[in-house]
Amino acid sequence: MIDQNQFLAQMQEILEIEDRTLSPDEKFRELPEWSSLAYLSTIAMIDDEYNVIISAADFRELQTLGDIVRAISERQ
């Protein structure tokens, strides 16, 4: 089972966000810290931590961090 808070903490680490806490409603593409490299780090982290690989086409449909959590749990 994926722990949403743990996932948010992992995303904070990738995005190097220390001054605030990310929420599940966060539209990650609108964050100034989001970048193509952050995207690749996210795919790699999800592969490492949850043993799930989300295709680029499926990822394109995801809007919020909560959407990513759901996408992971659907694939586990």
Partner: protein, 358 residues
Amino acid sequence: MASQCISNVRICGIAAAVPQRVLDVKTSKAFAKEEEIEKFISSVGIERVHRCAGNMTCSDMCQAAADKLLAQLGWKSNEIDLLVFLSRSMDYFSPATSCVLHGKMGLKTDCACFDIAMGCSGWVYALSVAGSMVQCGAYRKALLLMGEEAANLAPTQRDEFEKYVTPLFGDAGTVTALEFDPSSPEMFIETYTDGTGYESIICRAGGYRIPLEPKHLDFVVDSFGQKHRLIDREIDGAAVFVFGITKAPQAVRAMLQRTGKSVEDIDYFLFHQANLMMNEQIRKKCKIPLGKCPYSLRNFGNISSASIPLTMVTQIREQLTNGAPHKIIACGFGVGLSWGTASFVLQNPVIPKLIEME
């Protein structure tokens, strides 16, 4: 199943040439901020790339590598029965660059020459095709010339290209020499394709689907936010990343299983040098120790089909030429989408030092 067992073929030597001109990531104008450079170096793993200057082409570098290797192998030009040029950086759209090289290298007329239009998976594909031709003894000595240039650049567009395009790709030319040798251990090759991903890495204009027009030489921003010309490579980074970290580990595991080997039994795993983040993910998924996975990315970048032979020449040349047999699995993956693995033994190959060309 695209799976081969090739007998009677020995990989006798490998050589590589790069242009002397170096493009340093730290001084590249393609990054907006200093932090971006640091991030690029730490995650993509490239600090510098070599790039052609003047009129030098990929085939010139391949030829320089081949001349040097032939001299060190003691092979005569009239002994070569087969020359394959595998690249997308051809001298001309027609004739095949292998024919141009045949003439320049003074090879005999009863010599088969053809080009293969593949990219990052190319080293494995060329080995598959040429290995099949050599194994029956009809073609006894073969040269596989592989290389790439980052882009097709007129001198007037070089500065602009280097100003806009992040230095992921480098230039190099390589050669791999094969010989008919019944005492050589078997070599195993497996090749794969997913053509539904053909747009993941694509040079859109300049072929027959989108014939070249003057506007295709303008630098424009693609749908992934990267600025380049429509004749240059457009890359769906995320799609390629997902492809690489899924297919390459599967292919390596399949090869280990087929040959009844474990990671411990193999001396070196030679992966196409895509980018550090992707290659490290693949390495970790295959549970390969770092010491068995040499990288040439840092000083040369991604050079498509040349990455695997260039890694042998620049990273493990001394080990490979110490007289002991080395068990190797090579894995190429990328544009196509196309990928493949080769499992083979290298013993006493001739590997000249890297050639740097002015």
